[in-house]
């Protein structure tokens, strides 16, 4: 890439300015705005640092986080968005000390850009698994346990939000604006097709289950925010979908046990490439339904508190 060093310097300086403004700010709306700008710059940074998978995930998921934050802000701040936050100099000095310690410790790290890591994954992933995206291979095959249990963690987070909201999770479908609803309905098939494209190309290009799941969740959340009853996904079906996602992951792992070798070794039954594809689809389904469940839960908790 051509202007890499200059681009990195530009990103670091602007992110430093954004973070200083966020910390010193008094107004929660400005903090939200700066947080979304921060995630935009983070995404560009990941692209510059050769991590396109992580960049896609970061962009689609930080948008969901901002949406949840706005619902929480609407519920918490009754009259004004400005809060009282006194400046404590002792904390500033402590954070400077911590930064100095970290910078001193970072002198021992290897030089930026030096290829000093284990090349096993890069060398053997094509012959072991048959996919050319090494990230997808490592995610679903070499580190399959990791992904399975982290999907379980996401599911548990979503279900506990439903617990906080007493399990009701309704969306109110009044006060609809016709133009917004029309455009959301128009974008639905386009974005679903795009999500399917990203999901199925996870093995040969940046993509995969997490990105596609969050994009599907984003368009359904957009439809719900436009108060559009056209596509109505009930909360019970979503719960079933989310739990099925994680359950199917366990089942795919169990096929290894059935065939006589260890858990999550689906080489015997399907072959690694098909196993990775199955696992990615399952993860996408689980992530999408969990994100929509989290949205329903947070909008319900927020509306009940007004």
């Amino acid at each position: 890439m051509m202007f890499e060093t200059e681009l990195l310097i530009f990103i670091f300086i602007s992110v430093a300015l954004i973070v200083i403004a966020m910390i010193r700010s008094n107004n929660i709306l400005i903090i939200t705005l700066l947080s979304s700008t921060f995630s935009l710059f983070t995404m560009v940074l990941y692209l510059v640092l050769d991590a396109p998978d992580v960049a896609m995930t970061e962009s689609s998921i930080s948008i969901l986080a901002i949406i949840f934050a706005i619902y929480a802000i609407k519920a918490i701040y009754p009259v004004t968005y400005i809060f009282h936050d006194p400046f404590k100099p002792i904390l500033f000095i402590l954070s400077l000390v911590l930064a100095a310690i970290l910078i001193y410790a970072a002198q021992d790290l290897p030089e930026f850009g030096a290829p000093k890591f284990n090349q096993y994954y890069l060398r053997n992933s094509e012959s072991d698994t048959g996919v050319i995206s090494v990230v997808a291979a490592v995610l679903a095959s070499y580190r399959g346990y990791d992904t399975m249990l982290e999907t379980l963690v996401i599911l548990v987070g979503g279900l506990s939000i439903l617990l906080i909201s007493d399990g009701q999770a309704k969306v109110s479908y009044d006060k609809q604006d016709k133009l917004v609803a029309l455009m959301s309905r128009f974008m639905l098939p386009i974005i679903l097709l795009f999500a399917l494209y990203i999901q199925s190309h996870g093995e040969i290009s940046p993509g995969g289950g997490f990105q596609a799941g969050s994009i599907i969740a984003a368009i359904f959340i957009g439809l719900a925010m436009a108060c559009e009853e056209y596509v109505l996904i009930s909360k019970n079906k979503l719960k079933v979908l989310a739990v099925t996602g994680v359950g199917l992951y366990f089942l795919v792992g169990l096929t290894g046990l059935i065939a006589g070798v260890e858990f999550l070794n689906y080489n015997i039954f399907f072959g690694q490439a098909i196993g990775i594809m199955l696992v990615e689809y399952v993860v996408g389904m689980a992530v999408a339904s969990t994100m929509i469940l989290i949205y329903l839960g947070i909008s319900d908790v927020a509306s009940k508190s007004l």
Binding site: A72, A75, D85, L91, G113, A114, P115, V138
Partner: protein, 87 residues
């Protein structure tokens, strides 16, 4: 400093900021100068380290799950505080 703020929402935003900076650190460690992303192709010579990408991918999604749980908890805390103030 944002983490020690008196205001709950700012604390959660500060937590998200902190998580993002940790991810920056790890992905920055895995970069190789003059290399391409870790998707095997016939033209490239050297690739970036794929392992941090994988670990940070799941870390981002788990981060949003815990942050949204934090938002729901803050809403309930505020409800309870409002009830205490009113009565």
């Amino acid at each position: 400093m944002a983490l020690a703020s008196q205001d709950l929402m700012k604390k959660i935003f500060g937590l998200g900021l902190f998580q993002s900076s940790v991810l920056w650190f790890f992905i920055g460690l895995g970069k190789v100068a003059g290399a391409v992303p870790p998707i095997l192709s016939s033209q490239a010579v050297s690739y970036s380290n794929p392992l941090p990408h994988v670990l940070m991918l799941t870390a981002i999604v788990v981060g949003i799950a815990t942050l949204s749980l934090g938002f729901a908890l803050v809403i309930r805390i505020q409800n309870a505080a409002q009830l205490c103030i009113n009565s």
